[in-house]
Symmetry: C2
Subunit: 734 residues, 2 copies
């Protein structure tokens, strides 16, 4: 997963000291007035307790143990046969129906016979340094066969060589900074460190600035728990297995694209589906390879050229140089990067399980998580799979007991091949696009369920904010220390750790990086992404996408008692319960209006004067947002006025209006040059992990400012944005 | 309107002899087993009688008189103010709510101060012939001010000159025929006759073959009731006002595009909407002008070059020549075409009236007709407006009497600016795209209501065929002679005049040419187009788009007693009644399956061997159609099994599945290079009036055969088609 987070474990110590919590889950008092407070429930209030109490930490632990026993990358026997069957068979015992959706997709693997490597080469051809591409097992369990060597999926095989330049995080602004320093990286290899932006953007930028290859390393400052200028090979490791930090030998694997199967853009990869020629696929054209920081040190320590800017300095105990040449003895050496990756079409399998709704079986509330991992998947994603399996079991048990049935159909989604580019979920939403567009109520995503134990974090579309506050208030705080501090629920710690300007827990906008992407971006389905996380300012948990992301890592450093896993499962179950079973959907349109107003102010503050100076007014956009707000307020009033005596059709109409709001924001023409359709939120064009607000407009402004667009484009995008806000408004009115 | 028809008046005599029919409308026995036969009705059976009996010929006549008193082209005061208000105010008295939707759109007019003309010019510059551009009024009523001179809307102003070539109907095959005859029309003016294809395609083809201008005339063989080689200026006219045929001085105006406002493709033309630069709009670049056959004679009679093929010969009493030069005295003359048309943004107004549904007010059943006419609009379109107004009144009266309310909302649509390119309906569906996509049940179109009195004709998507058979059986035959021949209903004459292979009335597939286009092509809404028509093999009724299409023409030659008008109104009312009020929608999925099988066989027969020879199999397509058929059969079974005791939600689910089928066929990527999205039916790329079956595939094959495409494109389109059939199947299952 493209998992990113700013909040991490409070500290390893705190985690180690944390103790178990009882099973009693009370419903907390809800202070915020929400739709769901005033309307009738389709289930007895006790059902919520029944379901939440049914979720057991011990089951999640056992699930995780089973899921992580072997590496299970996309396309492997372990993932596509063993785990697919495990989940299918488990769900068949708990759920009403299970379907397996296979797709034939283009996957990418490192070659064993033609291994990837980086070399430092003297002019006479002799090799000064050669960097291997396997990680060092640091534990008996990690010495399993078939762990994939480190690589970047879907990067092309071949060999590139040239001078080496250090490009910091490989962002556009980093390359621009080099140009200001009169450094031209064209024709050279660049060395970037992980972090800040999606690795695929680093590769894209390297290509954009005409590099012939890119090496990406994890800097110990970002992932190794080290201060600046502190790590060198003499220093003994403070990393795994002694701490949760990445050891010097650790690599971060990953994908460089998140658009599904590269050969079938926009269409599901069935056998009958036409494949475009690989040369036309949106894939990198240059060689790319990740390395560890102990390997990076060997190159960075001898790199010459001017000193890199202060902000570019990292955790290696050297002065980071810009490069272009090497020091002393190695002055005229070049770097060679060899990639032996191969691409192959393989069958991957989504497992989809259903609890059929009794009233609206054709309305879908989905909970999804991916199955495939780069290695063992201790956290990413099997912590999520373990939780989703337990939620499915708990809900299924209560249904089988005859105590409850959801009003709408609950769909549990176990996605294949997320890591190489959100492939399983993308192909499925491409196959079922119309069904989802017409009938999907909401999508809840859990990728990594627990990557720290400081607090919950969430991203979601605005209509779901209120529900998230509500559900987290219904789940007891798994942290006893926090409870002692008068923070009894998940909500309380969340608010304490990460409040927004309105003294509510901060919820980020959705960009990309996991399987909610295509639900929101292709089908306009209101979406949520949930996890428990750390609170340190690091790009991700340290062993992310490495060999060391194992069951043992989870047990030793993250959630020894699986109580945070259980809490996130309870939050998800509560969200699913309410979305599937409340007569009136707990979706709040007013929060969307508030978000639009906030985004408008932000746009106006940042660019209002510049736009006005170029003859562009924001008045129409402002009016449209005002219209949207009026309609949202009115719809909310109607929703609140519904009672048990309201007619079935009046409830249905309001529900349709509530869940269809995001459909209004889709532009089927797509954002300029992109597959995405949502004009309010899209993965940022310069960092897919982040959401870009009003992406068409902000990209157009960015392009003008970077001399690659015109104000006419800005006007056009402003018009599209305004029209789609009016379209969403129309859906709430008519 | 792009009205076309192969069936016309049986004869003028028959029409003149036809006598009035009483008001009693019995419900005929339905022989074909349909969904609607077996399910409960939401209204008393007597309601059908009440509504059909409420429709009065005298009211339609009075409506038509009011509507045709002055010319009322799009953008004129008469159309945008007088008639808009007339309809708005009338509907406000009958309906629950009326809304006016204004759009600011690019219209096109001929200039009075810079008139269009055609000239024949000697090398020394002196003018041998000059052709005016106004029609000759042949009646006191036609001498109104402000009748637009003849022109082709949205063709550019300017002057072109060159040799003149006769190009028959201006089809691709006609230009190809010339190439075979070693005739190169590049750089010349071409002279085409009306008919066979949409005039816009003639202009497009002329541009494609590098002509600098095009003159289009109505051949008396096609429009003047003349035999081949029979008309010359000496001959006295057999045309209007003595007969219904086009007089020698008559012109056919018209548009050359049908994509809505050319400056806002894909978006509604609100004030805030961005307009593309006119140079980027999909509009012709060459001069074009229609002329009468008496004017065409002057050029054709002296045209030189080789004899045109026998099939190209027409009604002028000369031997049609290919041209390239003129005869004798005029040998070295050139033709000059001058166009003074100007384009201007104007406000146009759709009037939308509602009868609110009691159960599903958010589900829409629409009946639409356009208001604007090229001149008086006697038939096109005011005969339709007069009928739709009467249907709205009749339904409104029954509602006001408290005797009935539809289950779903009925929407009456009075479209603006259809003639210059389906503008009113296109902008509206662009504005309300999502609402229609999610909630529109069906769209019923009446453009010209009556253009002859031989039989009803219809085009529709397959799910509506059964309903059309059903409703026409419920309406008494307006023709007494036919009744005497044991054909008591509209259905019987329709079947008698135009049976298909299954001994059911023939229903054509929908291409373009009227306002259903964008409902079907953009939003995937099941659609119908209805009219009464002639049964002669002529391209359209003779005075189509001319000055002579008046109230008087209707009264004298088409429907003196307005009984055919009434019958078409009754058919439309019955269709609207059933679609809006039956608990289970009368949409038949099985007929869609049959249509797909038929189209598959046609594709296989025509191209199967050729495809196989190029490694392309149709097996996946065949399987998908088989899957579709199974799902359709099953859905129909479920629909038939519903009873009064069925739950509201089970009925709702089946209804959603029934009306959403066509949504499955939409490809939001669009057909290659086109705005249209429906992969089963689209306006043919070579004649927009006609529907092309499997348009992506057939266009791709056409392109390969004409050396402008590849078999890879065919494979790709076949894949898209197959996937979308599976998508439609999915919507019927899930």
């Amino acid at each position: 997963s493209g998992a990113k987070g700013l909040l991490g474990m409070a500290s390893i110590l705190a985690a180690a000291l944390a103790i178990g919590i009882g099973i009693l889950i009370g419903k907390s008092v809800v202070n915020v007035k929400t739709i769901s407070d005033t309307i009738q429930w389709d289930f007895d209030a006790g059902i919520q307790d029944l379901i939440l109490n049914e979720i057991k930490a011990s089951n999640i632990k056992e699930n995780l143990r089973l899921l992580t026993v072997l590496p299970h990358e996309a396309g492997s026997h372990q993932d596509e046969v063993v785990l697919t069957n495990l989940i299918k068979e488990t769900w068949e015992t708990h759920l009403d129906k299970v379907e397996v959706y296979p797709y034939n997709v283009l996957l990418s693997y490192p070659s064993i016979s033609d291994p990837n490597y980086i070399e430092l080469v003297f002019p006479n051809g002799s090799v000064a340094l050669k960097t291997n591409y396997t990680e060092v097992p640091l534990d008996q369990n990690e010495k399993k066969p078939k762990v994939l060597p480190s690589f970047l999926a879907h990067t092309p095989n071949g060999t590139a060589s040239g001078d080496l330049y250090y490009v910091n995080y490989g962002r556009v602004e980093d390359f621009e900074e080099l140009l200001k320093l009169n450094v031209n990286v064209s024709g050279s290899i660049c060395m970037a460190r992980y972090g800040r932006i999606f690795r695929g953007e680093k590769v894209k930028n390297a290509e954009l600035y005409n590099c012939t290859g890119i090496v990406i390393f994890t800097d110990p400052f970002d992932y190794g728990g080290m201060a600046k200028h502190s790590w060198s090979p003499e220093k003994s490791s403070i990393g795994y297995p002694n701490t949760w930090w990445l050891p010097p030998s650790g690599f971060q694997r990953g994908s460089v694209q998140m658009l599904g199967d590269p050969l079938t853009p926009g269409y599901p990869s069935l056998n009958l589906t036409y494949r475009i020629n690989e040369s036309k696929a949106k894939l990198p054209k240059i060689q790319a390879q990740p390395i560890s920081y102990e390997q990076a040190y060997e190159y960075m320590a001898i790199l010459g050229g001017q000193d890199a800017p202060e902000k570019w300095q990292g955790g290696l105990n050297i002065t980071y140089k810009i490069g272009g040449s090497f020091k002393a003895l190695h002055k005229n050496c070049k770097v060679r990067i060899h990639v032996g990756n191969y691409k192959v079409q393989k069958k991957v399998h989504n497992v989809i399980g259903y609890i059929k709704g009794w009233q609206d079986p054709d309305k879908y509330v989905l909970l999804g998580n991916h199955r495939d991992a780069w290695a063992f998947g201790g956290l990413d994603p099997s912590s999520g799979t373990a939780v989703v399996m337990e939620v499915a079991r708990a809900m299924g048990v209560v249904v089988k007991q005859g105590k409850w049935k959801p009003r709408r159909t609950i769909v549990f989604c176990n996605w294949a091949a997320e890591e190489p580019g959100l492939i399983g979920s993308t192909e499925w939403t491409e196959q079922l696009e119309k069904r989802l567009l017409l009938r999907a109520v909401s999508y809840v995503n859990i990728d990594i369920a627990v990557q720290g134990n400081a607090t919950m974090r969430a991203g979601s579309t605005p209509t779901l904010h209120n529900l998230l506050y509500n559900s987290t208030k219904s789940v007891q705080n798994p942290n006893e220390e926090e409870k002692k501090k008068n923070r009894p629920t998940v909500y309380d710690t969340w608010l304490h750790k990460n409040p927004n300007d309105h003294n509510l827990p901060f919820i980020r906008n959705l960009g990309s990086g996991s399987d909610y992407t295509t639900f929101l971006q292709r089908c306009g389905v209101a979406s949520v992404d949930l996890r428990y996380t750390f609170d340190e300012h690091i790009p991700s948990y340290p062993v992310y996408h490495s060999l060391h992301d194992t069951f043992k890592y989870m047990e030793n450093f993250i959630d020894p008692e699986f109580k945070y896993s259980k809490a996130i499962g309870q939050v998800a179950a509560d969200v699913m319960l309410k979305l599937s079973s409340l007569s009136v959907l707990p979706l709040n349109p007013i929060d969307y209006a508030a978000k639009l107003r906030y985004m408008f102010k932000s746009l106006e503050t940042t660019n209002g004067k510049l736009l006005a100076a170029n003859g562009i007014q924001l008045t129409d956009l402002n009016s449209a947002i005002w219209e949207f707000g009026k309609a949202a307020q009115n719809l909310n009033n109607v929703a609140q006025s519904l009672t048990l005596a309201s007619s079935e059709s009046s409830i249905r109409i309001v529900n349709d209006q509530l869940f269809q709001i995001d459909r209004g924001f889709l532009d089927f023409n797509g954002l300029p040059g992109r597959l995405w359709r949502h004009v309010i939120f899209a993965p940022s064009s310069h960092n897919a992990y982040r959401a870009s607000g009003f992406p068409g407009v902000t990209d157009a402004i960015y392009n003008v400012l970077n001399n690659s667009g015109s104000w006419e484009d800005v006007k056009q995008q402003l018009s599209v944005l305004t029209l789609k806000i009016l379209s969403a408004t129309d859906l709430m009115i008519a």
